[in-house]
Symmetry: C2
Subunit: 479 residues, 2 copies
């Protein structure tokens, strides 16, 4: 049982120190740690050092792991360190691994920000606006604030905490997978469960726990024929045009309302069970939110449940574009000699990337054969990531649900997401432990967009949530 007095004191301390936490977040936002910009690499290192200083202050033992160099825009750059931290080492306590990232997306005032993206400002409704506020500086500082609060109120920390903060998440997480694999039996050995706070509530009022992510298989389909681009006046009608072939192939992939037509692709989609169906009833989500996000009423389904299921638990196929064809404004009568069409399939349990590739390859080759074209076809899966689904019945999730009830006085929504967060699956596969996604921010935070914000309420209650979750973890039976 969690000691309610302890929680009460913890909550009180957090409430009273809000402004201190906001100042701390302001300091972090002021460091433009953009991992995808070679000119900002120094700032990513600065941000790592800023965290190390906080680790030291809080008595977190740490290692700043050098994971080598990488090449970007033709330059060889040092990768920012992956910070591994340890707080507590009591064999009687559970050990929780928390992951987050200290790098951020690019941001320029000219992109449409209402204020300098590197200066955290609070508006009249309590929105803390600044790049990285919600993704992911608020959450990672949230963990550290919770530790500090426990020290200040003189309460023992309920678990052993392992920390993994990286500085390359927005740029492919270079070096992370290798490190996790290398440390699985060492640094990560005693971990009982994993908690990642790097996603968002589905909406704007109700907290959620996230237990599933779609995978992705990204394909590059190249049709080539002539040795050079041709003039359509001179050659149109006399040669097999790669563009015509590609368009016909692409037209056979998916229907306008999203049904994938590639044989075999839908075979492994997990059946919808009654208990999963049940979880959709209470979820806070309105079609209007989707329509507002897409800025149109071109949604396929007229109800929330089918919409969420289409996003989370059924595969989808999107055609992204064509490389090698004319793509500029205006008029050009080119007959492109080689075109690469790009599409991706968002996959769900129990679909497998290798089988997806095999189905796509077989289908496209067969369909290409039917065209009778003299052109050449190449089918390539350039990126494959498995879908992820966790068990929301696991004690890790139950502890988090209990914490939500104590902080927010409501049961969390059980959500999945349509996109992927690759590290989730990496941790689950490498450590073979339950992974929980426990978001701090709201669905409208605009993580990769202009005017990214974290509501002060989410930040403060989020700190409470992360701390309370660890108390619930300590109290729960882990069998």
């Amino acid at each position: 049982m969690v000691n309610e007095t302890v929680l009460k004191n913890f909550f009180k301390y957090v409430d009273e120190n809000q402004d201190h936490y906001v100042d701390r977040l302001r300091e972090a936002v002021a460091i433009p740690s953009v991992s995808s910009d070679p000119d900002r690499r120094e700032d990513v290192f600065r941000m790592g050092n800023w965290l190390i200083e906080l680790f030291k202050k809080l008595g977190i033992s740490y290692e700043a792991v050098d994971v080598g160099n990488h090449v970007m825009s033709g330059k060889t750059l040092k990768l920012p360190p992956i910070l591994l931290g340890s707080y507590g080492n009591d064999p009687k306590k559970k050990t929780i691994l928390v992951y987050g990232h200290y790098d951020v997306q690019p941001a320029l005032l000219e992109d449409g920000w209402n204020s300098d993206p590197w200066k955290l400002v609070e508006d009249s409704t309590g929105r803390l606006v600044g790049r990285g506020s919600s993704d992911d500086k608020g959450p990672i500082i949230g963990w550290l604030n919770a530790i500090e609060a426990h020290q200040k109120i003189g309460v023992e920390f309920p678990v052993n905490l392992k920390i993994c903060f990286e500085g390359m998440e927005e740029n492919g997480s270079e070096g992370l997978d290798d490190l996790i694999a290398r440390e699985a039996d060492k640094y990560f050995k005693c971990v009982d469960a994993v908690c990642i706070s790097d996603n968002y509530w589905l909406g704007v009022t109700k907290p959620c726990l996230t237990y599933g992510l779609r995978g992705i298989s990204y394909f590059n389909i190249t049709v080539s024929g002539p040795g050079r681009d041709l003039h359509s006046g001179v050659f149109g009608g006399t040669v097999y045009e790669p563009m015509t072939d590609l368009i016909i192939l692409f037209s056979k992939l998916v229907t306008p309302n999203g049904k994938i037509l590639i044989p075999g692709i839908n075979d492994d989609v997990a059946e919808l069970k009654d208990e999963e169906m049940e979880t959709y009833r209470s979820i806070e989500f309105k079609l209007e939110e989707l329509q507002s996000a897409i800025e149109s009423k071109t949604n396929i389904y007229d109800n929330e449940t089918q919409t969420l299921q289409a996003r989370w638990r059924y595969p989808s196929l999107s055609i992204h574009g064509i490389e090698g064809a004319f793509s500029a404004p205006g008029v050009k009568t080119v007959l492109p000699c080689k075109v690469s069409g790009k599409f991706s399939i968002r996959s769900v349990p129990n679909m497998d990337p290798d089988k997806i590739t095999a189905c796509v390859d077989k289908f496209l080759r067969e369909e290409f054969g039917k065209l009778g074209s003299e052109n050449k076809l190449q089918v390539e899966c350039v990126h494959g990531a498995k879908p992820w689904v966790s068990s929301p019945d696991h004690w890790n999730f139950v502890a988090a649900a209990n914490a939500v009830e104590k902080v927010f006085n409501c049961k969390p929504d059980l959500t999945r997401e349509g996109g992927s967060i690759p590290v989730t699956l990496t941790f689950q596969d490498a450590l073979n432990k339950n992974v929980l996604l426990l978001p701090m921010g709201r669905g409208d935070d605009g993580a990769h967009s202009t005017n990214e914000k974290l509501d002060r309420h989410n930040y403060t209650e989020g700190i409470k949530l992360l701390g309370t979750y660890l108390h619930e973890v300590a109290a729960i039976k882990s069998t």
Copy 2:
């Protein structure tokens, strides 16, 4: 009857003055009169003045018509003058209008030229390499050389010549159509027939007369839905994707082997008559030439006649590309909110641009309706030009064929072209006179490409051809 002695003297003079003509071409090539480059506009004017000096020297009365300004790359630029020249005014003679252009395509050594594009050099096989040598400085100087030769040998010029040389052909011929319309009943009033030397032999050994060009209808098909680009992970499967709709529409336009599937499009294609079929038998053209030009063996037809007919006398449809979709190398999981697909139909007699647009519009709207998509469709014909076909039995063509026989000792091929030369139709419609395309260069001159050349043989014999054609015009019965 043409006076054979006159021709003999004319030919002899041309042969003896070859080097003088090459020097003259060298001077012209040295002026980089690139009409599409604002920084070269002054050079286009310089080239106009260079021609004016030659007009004066040859006693050609002229007007350099100022056709105003235009805006290019945000700058207001003066349009180069259209040079109208008159040589001879004898009411007993026929009047022939010759058209050509003194501007050229851009050229940079770095593009892959083997020598400075603005310095005419002659290689060991007699190729005169330089930008504009074949397109179209060689031909326009050819007419003037023919005049000069007649003066030198003291022979009366056989016709009244009207000259129309413009400096904007490679950049949309701005101002030309208006001028032609305006002068149709004035400056161009007495014209009996038109001759344009601005295209090429089909191959490399046999001269041709060109009597047909395909038209073009260029379409922009826009499908739009969401108000902004979306992330395929979050939204894939829940919204109607504009790209899916566009791809399906585009797949219904044409088969891989070039059959247009839009109902009504093929209805107005002129029937293939026996006499036209006859003209294909003798044409100098080998499939290998096509394969060498396209650098592959992806030709649709296995015989020359069908290939030429597909290029010249049947419509074709080419899909050029898509604006608004992902088109760069690499991977991007965007779901584009608005995509504009571009395709064009090359039209042939007796197809009409308005009817083509109507067929395309109707068909695409019907097919879009079948998709059941909530997205919006917009169909736009952004450019429509009619096909052109002339009568090769007209005295203008017969005179030219006679001239080819006298200069080259062979009958010319009767060809058409798959592309369009808009001024052809403009002259025919405005003056209601027969228009003949009488090329000087070979099919491999590389007019808009690197290392553009005009063979010395084509230049010299071309001067003879243009002069002889005028003698044949004078001698032939024009009824």
